[in-house]
């Protein structure tokens, strides 16, 4: 291939396109009334339609159409008439021996997603976002539990027929980090708009990657490889990094890349060639004769579009960074968590200090959510937590350090900051007479240290300050303590 020379001095760049599959948050499957639920007992949510029994007829779920349109509206896609096709293939995960999907007339065509890349917004274009049905879940039997050395496969058809939105990007992605940002952005949008649960670990959001490399500056694409089986964003980054390196080395050594599908294995950190019994893809698509085309009422599209808040996390992060002078990376850590950014902005609106609020959200609140596995919506907090903490710092009641401790307690207990301060006696001691009493006690209890200080060893003053802080459980103002000790000696 002329685009790829085997010169070891040539730098290569990756060209990546991602296919993100998101299971839609519906109560029932795409074409039948079986429940769409994760973790049900195997083969209990199945019926003649999703098992492909003869004579069964599919009927499209209105909610699935609505959720697909909601996504299309959010990413500015062309939303239009959609035709379902049969994609024919023999694979035991689809009992019908075909999958109903959309082919040349997807419900959403085009569109774009903006991601944060090197401190700026970067646009990733979408090819399409179409509706299809999910396949059954395979469990490979064998020594390793992996597909390669499986002796047999067990299948649960509960997932067969669950509505999926397949979001296909243009090959606009160049680095594993951009891929990560893109997936984070999509995950946030799909989650915020209540389109999908977007839990990669449960498989409600899955990512496949098309990867090729080419010499920097070349226009033609290299031969692309499809990489599957990444179960987390971390796996995606690892798999892409590995695959880009693998292809680069092959070209550098004068070899050629074969167009194929490769399976990522988390355990050995490599991609493996999948040799399928299937011939080269020949899916013989044809319009699904059991379903009529979907033509959408323009007023319905507009009504759904009107409910879609037009702000992506990436764009919101940039806006907030500009508005308040925030560090973009710090803002980025809060905008992808559902509800967190809304909370920060609501608190700022009622008087909370913007920068402190951002820091609390990105540190204490994020730490709490990570620890408990909870969500912002699940925190039973009264309005004004950050605003109260801000004024408690401003009036000298709390040091910044104490404020953070109070917040952690507020998050755990659900009590208000003022309640925590009074219950725990956490208020910073600014009453000088109380502090003077403690300082006098500490000095009286440490005559040897006082001798050293009088003898000129000023370093040990720190020890006394430490003793006072200990006696006040950290509630003393260190500057005041220093001043009081100095005046006493």
């Amino acid at each position: 291939m002329s685009a790829v020379a085997s010169d070891p001095c040539v730098d290569y760049e990756a060209v990546i396109g991602l296919e993100v599959h998101a299971e839609l948050k519906t109560k029932t499957k795409m074409f039948c009334g079986c429940r769409n639920e994760f973790g049900a007992k195997p083969n209990t949510n199945v019926c003649p339609v999703c098992l492909g029994l003869p004579g069964a007829l599919p009927v499209t779920n209105r909610k699935a159409i609505e959720l697909a349109v909601r996504f299309g509206a959010a990413v500015d896609a062309k939303i239009g008439r959609a035709v379902f096709h049969r994609k024919n293939y023999f694979y035991p995960d689809m009992p019908k021996d075909f999958q109903i999907t959309q082919y040349d007339e997807p419900i959403n065509a085009g569109g774009k997603v903006e991601i944060l890349d090197a401190g700026a917004l970067h646009t990733i274009h979408l090819t399409r976002a179409h509706l299809e049905e999910d396949t059954g879940k395979s469990q490979h039997q064998g020594v390793s539990g992996r597909i390669h050395d499986a002796t047999s496969t067990l299948i649960d058809y509960n997932r067969a027929g669950v509505p999926l939105l397949e979001i296909v990007s243009e090959p606009d992605i160049r680095t594993p980090d951009q891929a990560k940002q893109y997936v984070n952005e999509l995950r946030a949008v799909l989650g915020f708009l209540d389109i999908s649960d977007v839990k990669m670990e449960e498989g409600s959001m899955r990512v496949d990657a098309n990867v090729s490399v080419r010499p920097v500056g070349a226009e033609a694409f290299g031969v692309k490889v499809e990489v599957k089986n990444m179960n987390s964003v971390r796996s995606l980054v690892r798999a892409l990094t590995y695959e880009i390196e693998r292809q680069t080395v092959v070209y550098r050594e004068g070899g050629r890349i074969v167009q194929e599908t490769r399976h990522w294995e988390e355990e050995d950190g490599r991609t493996h060639s999948m040799r399928s019994k299937e011939e080269a893809a020949d899916y013989r698509y044809f319009p699904e004769p059991d379903l009529v085309p979907i033509t959408l009422d323009q007023a319905w599209i507009e009504a759904i579009s009107a409910e879609v808040p037009g702000v992506f996390p990436s764009r919101r992060a940039v806006q907030l960074a500009e508005q308040y002078g925030f560090d973009l990376d710090r803002v980025a850590s809060v905008v992808y968590t559902p509800g967190l950014c809304d909370w920060v902005e609501a608190e700022i609106a009622i008087g909370a200090d913007p920068l402190r609020s951002l820091n609390w959200a990105s540190q204490e609140v994020m730490a709490h959510l990570n620890e408990t596995g909870g969500e912002v919506a699940g925190l039973a907090l009264s309005k004004g937590v950050f605003a109260d903490l801000s004024s408690l710092i401003d009036d000298g009641t709390l040091s910044k350090k104490l404020a953070r401790e109070v917040l952690t307690e507020v998050l755990v207990s659900g009590k208000s900051p003022r309640t925590v301060v009074s219950e725990k006696g956490l208020a910073q001691i600014s009453d000088e007479s109380e502090l003077e009493r403690i300082v006098a006690e500490v000095i009286g209890a440490n005559p040897e240290t006082i001798e050293k200080i009088r003898a000129g060893n000023k370093k040990v003053v720190g020890f006394l300050v430490g003793q006072v802080m200990k006696a006040t459980k950290g509630a003393a103002n260190p500057e005041a303590v220093h001043r009081l000790i100095d005046s006493r000696l």
């Binding site: 209990t44 199945v46 209105r62 011939e279 085309p293």
Partner: protein, 97 residues
């Protein structure tokens, strides 16, 4: 319009059908006839006529997102050639590597 023996073999392989020599010859002729019949439509002037995705002129047939009872598992698995751990058991999927 005719189709070749190779076309028939390819389609048979995709459909997982093992055909005898007589069947291959027979289906090559029969499939050719069917294609010729359909090809007659190509002779018509369809300029400005949108492709038909479905012969029935109805567009909106949507179902509300309300669950309906599924089949009893015992009944479902009764039809399976092999069952293990309440799942359908099938032969391995990939070729030897």
């Amino acid at each position: 319009m005719s189709i070749s023996r190779e076309d028939v073999l390819h389609v048979a392989k995709l459909a997982r059908l093992a055909l005898s020599e007589e069947e291959i010859s027979l289906f090559t002729v029969q499939l050719g006839d069917i294609l010729n019949h359909a090809a007659a439509a190509c002779a018509l002037d369809t300029e400005g006529v949108p492709p038909t995705a479905h012969p029935v002129p109805i567009a909106h047939l949507l179902r509300e997102d309300e669950p309906r009872p599924s089949l009893a598992r015992g009944l479902v698995l009764e039809e399976a050639p092999a069952v293990e751990a309440d799942r359908f058991r099938v032969p391995r999927i990939l070729d030897e590597t």
